[in-house]
């Protein structure tokens, strides 16, 4: 028997009997629910208190970002890429910038690459901190949020110092980065690299051996490696199942091949394993930040191409040609050779890809994001199967889906 439950969603009730003598019960979870990390909606079939079927309903945060990008010029699209996965703007910028740079056939200078790596790794930490804080609250450790957001605040202050904006930095652009790092930024980064390992120890002291946290996560939401691969999981979801797949190592970009770091994996395949992977990733990110800071090369932070990037301010006062370039760039933008390109980066959530198609004009023909959160929702049913409703909260938490990234 199929029933319409509103907004075009139907649920088939088979009238089947559950293992506990009762009938299966269909319940609605979300979209306004404190533990869905946004506006995720789930239709869950319960047998007693155990999950038998789970169907995510998405689209409550559909923003039309991909369509909007078609109406914007190439350099304007950067601003909307910031806002799909709103916890990791530099990754979104970077995947788009790499794809456009592929089409333009340009290579950014080494200092720009190092600054890109610094911003990405800072964001990986801040994104994991949001995950850790909110997951902590859901599993009863409400102090975690205060600790995690203390460090997140320092990262946001650094974002503000380098780009002028706390969250949506728009810092990485096709052809380079927005501006060079200020001396104060490098000072803050140095202090952060010294302090952060101690702070991660603090989080671990609160959670890693905590009996309540362990009993809520160990053995919960098991996702064997084969299933994770088949369902397309990436990032900590895949590495938490013991598969050492990290785009920074497997398909290096932006000079990641020159940094010394380990790919965090765990063979536990459960929520606790994914927690360990994320904690380890934060430590590795600090290691990368330290290497990038110590070996920060000198030189320009942008490509020297007046057709793509505006001329420096001082040139505008002396050169007529610079004024013309500046005017053309800000009235009609630049054109990109016809063709298509795909670039992917490893964000805090997994493979964050961007596919762009150009028809040779000053606006993209199509921009498509391969978002990690969307694909990482696929294994949700597999993980939640036969678990209690309360465990479902822990499982949604470790999937770490950002709904802006899912719906775009």
């Amino acid at each position: 028997m199929t029933t319409e439950i509103g907004q075009g969603i139907t649920v088939t009730k088979t009238g089947e009997q559950g293992a506990f003598g009762g009938e299966l019960l269909t319940i609605n979870f979300g979209p306004h629910h404190p533990s869905t990390h946004g506006v995720l909606r789930l239709i869950v079939d319960l047998d007693g208190e155990q999950v038998r079927r789970l169907k995510p309903v998405i689209g409550y945060l559909h923003t039309g970002i991909e369509k909007q990008a078609e109406a914007l010029r190439w350099q304007q699209v950067v601003v909307v890429t910031d806002r799909h996965d709103y916890l990791s703007p530099p990754f979104n910028n970077l995947s788009y910038a790499l794809a456009v740079e592929k089409l333009l056939g340009v290579e950014v200078p080494p200092r720009a690459n190092a600054l890109r790596v610094i911003m990405c790794e800072l964001t990986r930490i801040s994104s994991h901190l949001v995950w850790l804080g909110t997951s902590g609250i859901e599993l009863g450790a409400s102090t975690m949020l205060m600790y995690c957001f203390r460090e997140r605040d320092t990262i946001l202050d650094m974002n503000e110092e380098i780009s002028g904006f706390r969250m949506h930095t728009s810092y990485i652009r096709p052809g380079g980065v927005m501006a060079d790092a200020t001396p104060r930024f490098l000072e803050l980064l140095d202090r952060f690299c010294n302090q952060m390992p101690g702070n991660i120890d603090e989080y671990e002291a609160l959670l890693t051996m905590n009996p309540i946290f362990r009993s809520r996560t160990i053995g919960i939401g098991r996702l064997p490696a084969e299933d994770a691969k088949v369902l397309g999981a990436t990032g900590p979801m895949l590495r938490g199942s013991g598969v050492p797949w990290d785009l920074r190592k497997s398909m290096p970009y932006s000079g990641y091949e020159s940094y010394d770091f380990e790919v965090a994996t765990s063979d536990l395949c459960d929520c606790y394993g994914r927690y360990l992977v994320r904690i380890k990733e934060m430590r590795e990110s600090v290691k990368i930040l330290r290497q990038a800071l110590d070996g920060l090369p000198d030189g320009p932070v942008n490509i020297d191409d007046r057709k793509v990037l505006p001329p420096p301010r001082e040139e505008l006062e002396t050169s007529m040609e610079a004024v013309i370039h500046h005017f053309k760039l800000f009235t009609e933008g630049y054109t990109v050779p016809a063709g298509d390109a795909y670039a992917a980066v490893e964000s805090g959530r997994g493979e964050n890809g961007c596919y762009v198609v150009s028809d040779g004009t000053h606006k993209p023909r199509r921009v498509k994001f391969r978002s990690a959160s969307f694909v990482n929702l696929q294994p949700l049913e597999r993980m939640a199967m036969n678990h209690m409703v309360a465990d479902m909260v822990a499982i949604i938490g470790t999937a770490d889906a950002v709904l802006g990234d899912v719906d775009r």
Binding site: G38, G59, Y60, T63, I65, Y86, D153
Partner: protein
Amino acid sequence: MGVEALAESLGQNILTTTLGKLIGWGRGNSVWPLQFGLACCAIEMIHTATASVDIARFGSEAMRASPRQADMMIVSGRVSQKMAPILRTIYDQMPEPKWVISMGACASTGGVFNNYALLQGVDKIVPVDVYVPGCPPRPEDLLNALMILQERIKAQGITPRQ
């Protein structure tokens, strides 16, 4: 105790006021927000609740998950066409008196997304008391909006909403 002494001690302990001012004072200093995160602004809303900004100084740290217990809805982020009816339902479920803060450019006007998918301003479906500009606004901006709202609630007293 003599009558003069009694009058003197009462003079130090009794405050005369109107009922409206008393209720306004009470309501204004305990505005419980609805925990209603939509998009990017929700993260800055969480920042407002944490130690560095600390919304608890203004009596609004009790984020309620149920609309039945909330006084104020902070629309923190973009509202899609699909979300709009749900947002209105949640607003209707909140008991009177209730207030709405529209946080960020997307909630207030649609922001950078002028397209088919987004509601161009949440004031099309719910009455908004305070708009906060920014994309997303800083936690201090949200705090300022709360203070503006508190002044209004205090001035409103027991008079019903117009």
